[in-house]
Each structure stands twice: as C-alpha cells, then as structure tokens.
Amino acid sequence: MSFSWPKAAIVGIVAGFLSGLLGIGGGVIVVPGLVLLVGLNQHKAAATSVATIVFTASAALLAFATDGAVDWSTALIVFAGAATGAWAGAHYMHKIPEYALAGVFTLVLATSSIRMFL
C-alpha cells in the first residue's frame, strides 16, 4: 500500500472512539488526521473523509433508529436542501484553492473547540 495504514488506522480509531463516546461526528478529527498524519492534500482528505462518514454515520444511525430518536419527516426536508448543497460543494470544489479550503476548515475546528469548552 502506498500510504501508512497504521497511521490511517489510528485516525479511524481515535475519531470513531470519540464519536461513539461524545456523540460528535468524526470529520473534525479525520480530515486533519488525513492531512497532517497520512499526508493527503486538503481536497482528497475532505473527499475521503466524506466516504468514511457514510459508513461510520450509518452504524451510528442504526443505533439511534432502534431507539426511535429520529424525526424522519424533518430529516427528509433538510436532506432536500443538503443533497443539492453536497452535490454543488463536491462538484465545484476543484475551483477552491487549497489554502482557502484549509483556512475555512481551521475556522470550523476553532468553532468546534470553543463549543466543546462551553
């Protein structure tokens, strides 16, 4: 394999453990992990993280859906907007320079850390 799989495994384990424990998404850990530890560029790290989220969030949803804590009609309405946004974001992402993508991600990280402290 052309990448360091132990490092990738560490990223997955840390992100998964924290999301199971604290109910947060793994993306805020996976993306910087893939950039700083595994060495992907910002665009590839984001796309790879999105694919990872499909699997991890499905497992978490399964756990929640059996408890009945899901409002499906609200989810469907929000998804109508989110599907459009996700397509547009992924489709036009190549037009965004890497420093801008990294900059916005840094802001999201800073916001998340402030939310965790409060």
Partner: protein
C-alpha cells in the same frame, strides 16, 4: 409544519450540505445545535435526526467526489473499519468515563489541530502567492 419552517429547514440543509461535502465533515456541528435551539428538538432526537440527514447527504457527496476521482479508497477502508469498531467501543464505555474530563481533553486536541491547520493554511497561502505570476506593471 408551517411553510416558513419548511423553507428554513431546506435552507439549513443547503448551507450545511455544501459545507459538509466541501470540508469533509458530516454537518452535525450545524444540524444538532440548530434543531435544538431553533426547532425545539430534545438533544437526543436532534442527534438521531442529524444522523438521518448526514447518511444520505454523505452518500451524495461520496458519489460526486468519486466521479471526480478524489477519494482514496484504501484509506477509506482502513479508517472506516477502525472507526466503526472504535465507535462501538466508545459508545459502550460512555457510562464508565468522566464525560466532562473527556470533553476537555477533546477540546484541547481540537485546539492543537486548529493551530497546526492554521499554520499549514498560512504556509499554503504563502506558496500560492510565490507561485502566482508576477505583475509586470
């Protein structure tokens, strides 16, 4: 649901879905607080509903990214496998751990990551300035 609420929910999805696919996050950081504070959801219902939005949204993002050839699939396999098992372990040990302490440790990790990503942003920006064509004016 009133028409205004429906418009609000679609707008919420549009904003969070764009950010999620572009940045590589799920979007829960936006969905959960907005569902709780604006739409009066209980915390647990907001988390479950947020996940129900995230899964199909991430699938749309994944398919679009895959068409652009941007996904590193071997990395996905390793990270997702480790992630799913660790998430179960995390969920099972949730009761046995001091959540307040964990939140603080997690917040601290995020601060370190934010600083390192901030430095990287600055370096990338400097490089982009250097490689830009020099204005001959």
């Amino acid at each position: 649901m009133s028409p205004l609420e429906i418009v609000g929910l679609v707008a919420l999805g549009l904003f969070a879905g764009t950010l999620a696919a572009t940045l590589g996050v799920g979007g829960g950081i936006i969905f959960v607080p907005v569902l709780v504070s604006v739409f009066d959801f209980a915390q647990l219902d907001a988390q479950g509903t947020s996940l129900a939005i995230i899964v199909p949204t991430a699938i749309v993002g994944m398919v679009t990214h895959a068409k652009a050839g941007r996904i590193d699939w071997p990395v996905v396999a390793v990270v997702a496998t480790g992630g799913v098992f660790a998430a179960f372990a995390g969920a099972m040990s949730a009761q046995r751990m001091d959540e307040e302490l964990l939140r603080r440790i997690f917040a601290f990790v995020l601060v370190i990551l934010a600083v390192r990503m901030g430095l990287r942003t600055y370096r990338l920006w400097r490089e982009s300035q250097e490689s830009a064509p020099v204005d001959p004016g």
